[in-house]
Symmetry: C2
Subunit: 326 residues, 2 copies
């Protein structure tokens, strides 16, 4: 098993080493392949990610990723979008689950659902045209893309409460009627209970009744918006992990960015990155992954927490405490 | 002044009469033109809205609208989308402001902002193609569409705290870089302070820091999603009004739907429809519109409220109480 480790920029360089401590505590046989990608690299060399980097990554099985800073420069190629595309990471998975003792913006902690976002098409097609007075982007929905994300969501639902919510805007977009129909058929074929929701109603409902949901499947940009919104339920964008999964590869990244304002101080919260390690272990089939939840509950109870949660611990202290418990 | 009054279906038939009582209390010189449109009409005649209805509406100055039930039938033409398009109602305005004593999902009441949604293009272009294996919809952003919505938002900001937030996804969509640039130029030309936010970050930020915003401008579907989400801040979709405004016409509708489950019982909450009357009066230049806020504060304090807010009053009782205060 080969793991590419990409710290990236800013706090990515702090949370990933802490998360790696936790991973190491499992004593698994890993070859780690460190790679420098992103803004710092771009400043130094003029490329954020090169073809040879992509080849190196393709030689690995999985990727643990911190964060990269992006710049508004036509020559700057998004590292994240490039890797998603090159490795065909079609499923973007974001679990939305409260952490013990951490209260989100609605004050409730009775929810536990997973957002499954189609990660390769929709408005991310890259098919666009720019004119002086009119620009357009094609939102593309394919049968293959919809089928495989629906299959993924159904498999997940069967391991959980067997309930799928399909999110779409089929009252306006024919492409979403298509997506909805394929998801319904896939759910029926898999014996998964399903319902569907318009994306606008869903944004409201997730805030009002998050306890209702189990697995939620949707198209690319809707998933992008809803998953950030749901971080408010958990309490902070700094606490949510994500996985980008394909047939062959898997890529794990905390949802937070590189946070230049707090970078270099050793105070960044590593819990999202540590939860990425949990997702990595689960993906590999390592049965001991739930111990990470226990370890996190333990450090939260002991108040070994970073300043953003009201504590005094450093990034590495939290990482070490979780690793020790493991 | 001619006002088309379209109750529509379900609770639209209950909240609009209550709202009309409030309007009548202002003693203004109005000609009311009642029109039956929507699902009930479709069942009876096979058309939800006809060309001659549109002509009648175009003969009016403004429209007060309840709600229509939609059906999944290829022959069913959306009344709402048809009217928006025919009257070129390019600005969809949704104020997000707490009502006295009503606590939203985050428990806070220190926010007061207005969402300005471009209402004619983006993913609502209707330019789509459906194949057996691939479907697409064109997301269209024009200079004209972006300029006029940015102008509208700037005018609004100047009457308020002079702060504009431009919401986009320009890191993925070139059409949104175009939108963002036009909004920035318009803000600069108007002397309005501005900032910009990615739509995913904005969904999070609106939940975490709603107090930060004054006027928020965005493209069609992003506005659709964010505005429903923001109803959770206020406490209920049943409490938020909206205006669809064009050069010539204006159309006012509560954000809630026809709610078939509670229709016919006389218990629907008319406050959103009454807030639509307030928006109508403001649009007309009638200076007394703020008295509606006072009247609503009064009925809320006196607990003359419908069952959804924990009260026992009927739709019409609330309408009468607000009208009396006025
Ligand atoms: C950085 C950006 C391109 C990315 C996306 O839109 O997918 C991010 O918001 C995410 O959710 O991973
Ligand atoms: C009914 C639907 C077409 C409409 C929209 O998407 O604009 C509604 O959600 C709204 O926000 O007014």
């Amino acid at each position: 098993m080969k793991l590419a480790v990409i710290e990236g920029d800013g706090i990515g360089r702090e949370v990933i080493p802490a998360a790696v401590k936790v991973l190491d505590a499992f004593g698994l046989d890993f070859e780690k392949v460190p790679l420098e990608l992103g803004y710092t690299r771009w400043e130094r060399t003029g490329t954020a990610i090169s073809n040879s980097d992509i080849e190196t990554i393709k030689g690995c099985d999985a990727i643990l990723f911190g964060a990269v800073t992006t710049v508004q420069d036509p020559n700057y190629k998004s590292v994240l979008l490039t890797i998603r595309k090159e490795l065909d990471l079609y499923a973007n998975i974001r679990p939305v689950k409260p952490l013990p003792g951490i209260i989100g913006v609605t004050g409730r902690s009775d929810f536990d659902f997973i957002l499954v976002r189609e990660n390769t098409e929709g408005l991310y097609s890259g098919i666009e045209e720019i004119g002086p007075d009119l620009c357009w982007t094609k939102r593309v929905v394919t049968r293959k893309g919809s089928e495989r994300i629906a299959e993924y969501a159904c498999k997940l639902a069967k391991k959980r409460r067997n309930k799928l919510t399909i999110v779409h805007k089929s009252n306006v977009l024919k492409s979403d009627k298509f997506f909805l129909n394929i998801c319904r058929q896939t759910a029926t074929a898999n014996g998964v209970e399903y319902e569907d929701m318009l994306v606008d109603s869903m944004a409201y409902s997730l805030m009002m009744h998050p306890e209702k949901y189990d697995v939620v499947v949707t198209t690319n940009l809707f998933g992008d918006i809803l998953s950030d919104m749901c971080a408010a339920l958990v309490g902070s964008l700094g606490l949510v992990p994500s996985a980008n999964i394909g047939e062959k590869y898997a890529f794990f990244e905390p949802v937070h960015g590189s946070a230049p304002d707090i970078a270099g101080k050793g105070i960044a919260n590593p819990l999202a990155a540590i939860l990425c390690v949990k997702m990595l272990l689960e993906w590999m089939g390592e049965q001991r992954y739930p111990v990470i939840d226990e370890a996190i509950a333990h450090v939260l109870l002991k108040k070994i927490i970073t300043p953003d949660l009201g504590g005094k611990a450093s990034t590495l202290e939290v990482g070490n405490a979780v690793a020790e418990f493991v």
